[in-house]
């Protein structure tokens, strides 16, 4: 073997050993295994159950006792949309206040009275349904009979919305904690110092982090996607390749940000504080659990410039709407900008000793 060849072989061996080292640290640490696999699954089970699609439930409503009550009860009991109960005035008011019933109907000399809370959507809806049932029960004829088409298909449920959010959240956490915290610990324990006292190339060391991050994606994604598919029939409507590609861009972006967060500090507490500081606003605004469109229009440009929002937007578009590369180009560019910016800054700031 020539000298160049042997040097190249040695470099390859060194990258391979560094990658193996990172992988072993990952799978021999029960904690990281849980946060990577267990946590997203537990989250999707819990939230999937809490927000499962239910059969449209009948709205509970109260009928106040009185001379007319029996007639009202008879009419309302015919409706499948309402669940009437006979109550005294006090009972009815109490039930309405605590939300046990959505609307109260009573009789007065001038006719019937509906009591409801207009700030509660279900209360307003129940009032409309109740009025409709009463009017028909008293003999109103419909002008025409519309035909209903019922749409309850996978892709529009909460769990479909949630899964891409959890994938994005997972990629952010593993990037920040796995890389950021891992590096800070290596610096505190002087392992970094020990490593750079060898001829190890610093670029190889950083490269091993990137490679392992990319490799782990193929271990991280399938369990959650398969689980979501089996347990909740959540499907990827777009291309799997594109979904994995977008996840890869996201994973590397957060890896670069993790590198930046840990580039100087030798105090793991400090780094974990910084990671929390950076991730918390994204937990809240990037649309993991609910759509970021709920925030005021004024801050939407900021929210959409965040890397987690970009990742989740892209993944939702691929999973739910079957979007192609062209439709997710913008969020991909946002991620690439964050990723390269963080990486270049991290290299510049990185403290080896």
């Amino acid at each position: 073997m020539s000298e160049t060849q042997s040097i190249r072989a040695a470099r390859f061996a060194s990258i391979r050993e560094l990658v193996l080292f990172r992988l072993k640290l990952f799978y021999r640490e029960p904690g990281t295994m849980f946060w990577t696999f267990g946590f997203p699954m537990a989250m999707s089970i819990v939230l999937g159950i809490a927000f499962r699609t239910q059969d449209p439930e009948a709205f509970p409503c109260a009928v106040e006792r009185g001379p007319d009550a029996a007639r009202v009860m008879a009419i309302l009991e015919r409706s499948t949309d309402l669940k009437p109960a006979l109550m005294s005035t006090e009972e009815a008011s109490q039930a309405l206040r605590v939300g046990k019933v959505a609307v109260v109907v009573s009789s007065a000399p001038e006719g019937r009275v509906y009591r409801f809370d207009p700030t509660r959507p279900e209360s307003r809806l129940a009032r409309a349904l109740l009025d409709d049932a009463m009017q028909r029960g008293e003999g109103r004829a419909d002008v025409f009979t519309p035909k209903s088409e019922l749409v309850t298909e996978p892709g529009s449920r909460y769990i479909d919305f949630l899964i891409p959010g959890l994938v994005g959240l997972g990629l952010m956490s593993t990037g920040f904690w796995g890389i950021g915290f891992g590096l800070a610990e290596m610096r505190t324990k002087r392992l970094l110092k020990r490593l750079i006292a060898t001829p190890m190339r610093r670029s190889d060391f950083l490269l091993s982090f990137v490679l392992v991050r990319a490799l782990l994606l193929f271990v991280e994604l399938p369990p959650l996607l398969i689980f979501a598919r089996l347990a909740f029939s959540v499907k990827v409507h777009g291309s799997y390749g594109l979904f994995v590609g977008a996840s890869m861009v996201g994973a590397l972006t957060f890896a670069a940000m993790g590198l930046l967060l840990a580039s100087r500090s030798s105090n793991p507490q400090m780094v974990s504080g910084m990671i929390n500081l950076v991730s918390f606003p994204m937990y809240l605004t990037s649309g993991v659990f609910f759509s970021s469109s709920r925030y005021p229009a004024a801050i939407q440009p900021i929210i959409h410039a965040l890397p987690l929002t970009a990742l989740i937007d892209a993944q939702r578009a691929i999973m739910l709407d079957g979007a192609g590369l062209a439709q997710i180009a913008r969020p991909l560019l946002v991620m690439v900008a964050w990723g390269t910016g963080s990486f270049l800054l991290a290299i510049k700031l990185f403290k080896w000793r």
Binding site: S6, I7, A10, A13, S14, R16, E17, L18, L20, F21, K24, L25, R28, E29, K189, R190, L191, K193, R194, L195, I196, A197, T198, P199, M200, R353
Partner: protein, 310 residues
């Protein structure tokens, strides 16, 4: 041209904000030599070694390692020197073999991983994770990570601090074996027995300066006596006459140290009768007497007036 020295530095200075950690150090370590840097905590040993290892930049001064400078030939030097830091935590979850293999992979040339495990007598622990190793085993693994590159020069910063006597002896054997193979060693320690056992030459450091340099024998001989006699005296109105005691036959020096009379003497059987007679004549009552062969510890106390581990 002869082989360059393992280490040579001139006028080495390292200043931190307020403190001068190394204050104008000149040092030469020859090839094949085991050189010990002795001194109490805070004497500047670690700072000196880390400068020689190319991990710290000196404020001023010139450093040549294997005839090269860190500025110009860092990669070349990294391939040829190895070290163990004063404290290193290796990755908890890696086994002994995996850790050594990782370090081996960084070097273009080096020793076989299994041979290295054998050198540090960790065969039985080859599959054990770092987190399960004892202090002595961890330290041997740290040294193995240095030896696996088959270095020309090995730096060991307090390799046996905090270890039990048996672990220390095992580590000494590893170092002796490495030296026998032609390697050069620079080690720091505050154990005098370690330096006497391992080092061809020692330099004693205090407050960032080298205050003595020589073979252990030379330094001990500089005390003037091979034997040390320590005497405790009962309370008396007058102190012993040190000058008179010092001029007795075979007595080289007499000093009071920490309330005790300490004499450096040549031949115990010649010196003792005279000393005892002189004390009795002065009306001083002896409470305790002990003797030991002079060690580097005595050299340090003699040079600084302080105990090493104060």
């Amino acid at each position: 041209m002869s082989e360059p020295d393992a280490v040579s530095c001139r006028g080495l200075v390292k200043e931190y904000d307020e403190v001068v950690a190394v204050d104008g150090l000149d040092l030469t370590v020859r090839r094949g030599e085991c050189f010990g840097l002795l001194g109490p905590n805070g004497a500047g040993k670690t700072t000196t070694v880390e400068i020689l290892e190319g991990l710290l930049e000196p404020t001023s001064g010139e450093v040549l390692v294997l005839g090269k400078t860190w500025e110009r030939d860092e990669h070349w030097l990294r391939e040829r020197i190895s070290l163990s830091l004063q404290q290193t935590y290796l990755p908890d979850k890696l086994t002994v073999r995996e850790t050594i293999r990782l370090f081996r992979s960084f070097f273009a040339r080096g020793r076989d991983v299994e041979d290295t495990i054998r050198m540090v007598a960790l065969e039985e622990k080859a599959k054990a994770k770092y987190e399960t190793l004892s202090g002595g085993q961890r330290q041997r693994l740290a040294v193995a990570c240095a030896l696996v590159s088959d270095p020309d020069l090995l730096f060991l910063d307090e390799p046996t601090t905090g270890l039990d006597p048996q672990s220390r002896r095992m580590l000494w054997e590893v170092i002796v074996a490495y030296k026998r193979g032609g390697g050069s060693v620079v080690l720091t320690t505050h154990y005098m027995d370690e330096a006497e056992r391992l080092c061809d030459r020692v330099g004693v450091m205090d407050h960032g300066k080298l205050i003595a340099l020589g073979t252990p024998e030379e330094l001990i001989r500089s005390l003037g006596g091979q034997e040390i006699v320590e005497l405790s005296l009962a309370e008396a109105e007058h102190a012993p006459d040190l000058a008179a005691l010092g001029s007795l036959p075979a007595v080289h020096s007499a000093k009071m140290q920490a309330g005790r009379l300490v004499l450096a003497v040549e031949e115990l059987h010649v010196a003792l009768p005279g000393v005892l007679a002189a004390l009795a004549a002065a009306g001083l009552v002896l409470e305790n007497l002990s003797t030991h062969r002079a060690t580097l510890e005595d050299v340090f106390v003699n040079l600084t007036g302080r105990q090493l581990r104060e």
